[in-house]
Symmetry: D2
Subunit: 264 residues, 4 copies
């Protein structure tokens, strides 16, 4: 034992036994979902209810958004120079920051302020939302998680909230997000719909994750998308290609209905 000995409460590794937060990994494999395992790794406990399902829904909802996001362009640009997969993925991760993915964390803070105000003042939901909107407007700050430069109605939001209701995790934060959406749209006199960032922020608040972990969920979600783009860059394109950030043509399968059975 040295004076640099340190402690960790995440994983215990012994010969022939690996405990994640106290549970044998070999007992968990195949019995819990990856979403459950993420919850366990980050929170220290298995999800008491449908939290793992919510996490998987979040991960699926932002798994990819085409060739234009800066994380995708950074990853493709690095892949195009012949770099290793890990270098290209790392470059994509480095582009997940304040303006790209960061809205989730900022929106979690907004929703938390609103719910805390509501709790402390016993204000009505709508009044608390008004207070939040006014507060940000007065400080000249934008409220992140509402509006989208492309989507006037983010298709992922309705679905995520519908599932949250079904799974019993839609509470005060989802309600606050909806109320701020109304207050903000009213104030700006144009629709300011909750976007995917805002919907994810509300759900992560319902699951009691710290805002400091928000980016992590976006990173976890986006890795498969980044890998798909890196793999396609290597397979379809020449090295050292000049990568246009927007003039991109989709030539994959045309729209096709999902015909499987519901998991939920």
């Amino acid at each position: 034992m040295s004076d640099l000995r340190w402690k960790t409460a995440i994983t215990k590794v012994e010969p022939n036994k690996i405990l994640l937060r106290g549970y044998r990994l070999d007992e968990l494999i195949g019995r819990i979902s990856y979403g459950d395992a993420i919850y366990l790794a980050l929170k220290g406990e298995l999800p008491p209810g449908n939290e793992g399902k919510v996490i998987e829904a979040i991960l699926v909802s932002v798994i990819d958004h085409g060739g234009s996001p800066p994380s995708t362009l950074a990853a493709r640009t690095i892949a195009s120079t012949g770099a290793e997969l890990s270098a290209a993925v790392a470059g994509g991760i480095l582009a997940i920051s304040q303006y790209h993915g960061g809205a989730i964390e900022e929106c979690m803070n907004v929703l938390s302020e609103g719910v805390a105000y509501q709790h402390e003042t016993s204000a009505a939901l709508e009044d608390a939302a008004e207070w939040v909107v006014k507060r940000y407007r007065d400080r000249g700050k934008r409220i992140h998680g509402f509006g989208h430069r492309l989507h006037t109605r983010d298709p992922r939001t309705a679905r995520l909230f519908e599932l949250a209701a079904t799974w019993g995790v839609a509470g005060r934060f989802v309600a606050m997000a909806r109320a701020i959406e109304r207050a903000l749209s009213e104030r700006l006199q144009r629709p300011m719909p909750i976007n995917a960032d805002g919907a994810i922020a509300a759900l992560l608040c319902e699951l009691h994750f710290e805002p400091a972990l928000a980016d992590a969920f976006f990173m976890m979600a986006r890795i498969p998308g980044l890998v798909a783009h890196i793999h396609e860059e290597r397979s379809r394109q020449k090295p050292m290609r000049r990568i246009h950030p927007t003039d991109i043509e989709y030539d994959g399968p045309e729209e096709r209905p999902w015909t499987g059975e519901r998991v939920e």
Copy 2:
């Protein structure tokens, strides 16, 4: 349209509609698992059978391995300097390379060679395994995916192979891995059990993934573990800590049985 226009077959983004490989994301959310979505993103089609379950089992199996792996140490070292989450995660990703995670890709190549030889020569399984072992020994090359410096019997392997059998995806590659395990242990006169890298390699071969994507699965699996370590580093430790690579004490929950119901 510019002369730099380029094509992608992964995701089509239109106002209020996002198609992943032709499927509307909002239709997929909550209906397919994250494992299914990874398969869809990387392969272009929804999994025909239990492939998504196999992927989730793989991700859970290597989600974390304590404080000593180089990816964990790199991530904690960077986090300790006060860097952003994305910087610490990227540093961890950069440590996933030839000797850390890379064994999965190398083992996929080994298994593919064995199965190809078996197919081309109509050799018996055991003879093909012998051929593979001799071939690598003759070239003085190590066969990755067998043996472990800590585990004499990797607890994750048995569980992964058991599930693969249950889910109907254990075929020639799993059989080849088992045969090489026997041939190698015989030749070296000591147990050379398939480790988690080898088991994952066999399963990714059964799912017909390219070896070049092997590292990606290890990265996807390990991100939650890296994030948990980065978060713990920030919460429990002082900045600029000298991080000992092995003198680590686990002080999390003691071993506890998993008592939930089986998902499978």
Copy 3:
């Protein structure tokens, strides 16, 4: 010309001609030092005096600091996994952040506040230094750039300030650093000598660089050190080594005098 056309004032690249800030690169090569070129690249003008020499002195002063800094450990940890040189260097760079290298930027802000106060209030140097020290103490904030966990008298500081005086660039910021050193040591009743970070901060202030660029100088300085460590790791060590953060033995050349002629 597209609507995404953008402008840069750094480098003009034409067939057979490359202009850096208006100067032909081929005219500059061999005529200006790398320190001059850094000044030109970042400031847009050639140094009017000895600024290029100051920059080179800064770069030499922090080119390496042994095996223990987190940037070095991150780089070696990543190199040890068999990763490419660029991955290991990038990992080292990612560890240059708030607590590692970041003191230069923070100290530049401290010195700038002191000099601005002195200028605005016509206060005596010592009074301005007292004001700065009190201001930070009152807010419970540390003043970075003073004191060192190892060096009671940082050998690089005296030399850098001596050169700055010789080269005519030691002005109000160096004086302020010295005055804060006195005020801080007095207040804490123990020596709080200006360390290399503080000395570099003072010189970069004298050269009118923005504090936001401070980290860049530390990065530029440290890359050769990182590369030397990565190269040594690959040459002398086995892959996947457990890298102790402090138990390091130096076995290079013993102390030897520099006997060359002075460049200055």
Copy 4:
């Protein structure tokens, strides 16, 4: 002393004394150039002649190449998301790989093969160059370091070789580069001039650096350029900008003559 104790021959750090390869850093600061210090850090000895000058000339020659190189685009893309300076620089570094910067290492190998053949067979220079060109052509491999997609006559090459001659470091490798240039142009019936990568490769060979370190010189050279671009991106552009890879307008100072005195 632990069983993880390890050795390094680069830097010895003691209280109030830092030895780089045996020399006190405070004695070196201001007396040797940054180029000399790079040589010392990487080689372990001070340059016996003008090697430090050659290194500085190399660093100046590729300090920047406008907005289009992938390292620049990766760095700007990441900076545009609001990431820290270190993240953007690391992203740029990760794009320095096989096809971007990697030509220097490949050309060093080509020149080394040619010089070794010449030495072993006592062949005439031209015959050795012919042998090299034929050897690569026969294997269907490109010889890197010759030709440029923009420059028909790379302005940096002539200057670097002129300086190398003046400084007494132009020997067999520079001669081999020139001979291969002639042989290649003859064989392809079009000019295949040595580009900056090729010229740098020849000079690094003359300085007896290992090809494995070639990328390091490109990284060291390019950091100030990357930093200038990142700083300009932050100062002049809005966050989350779509960054066109080629439609870039230079609006810096027009061409202006360098009127300083020669350093050499």
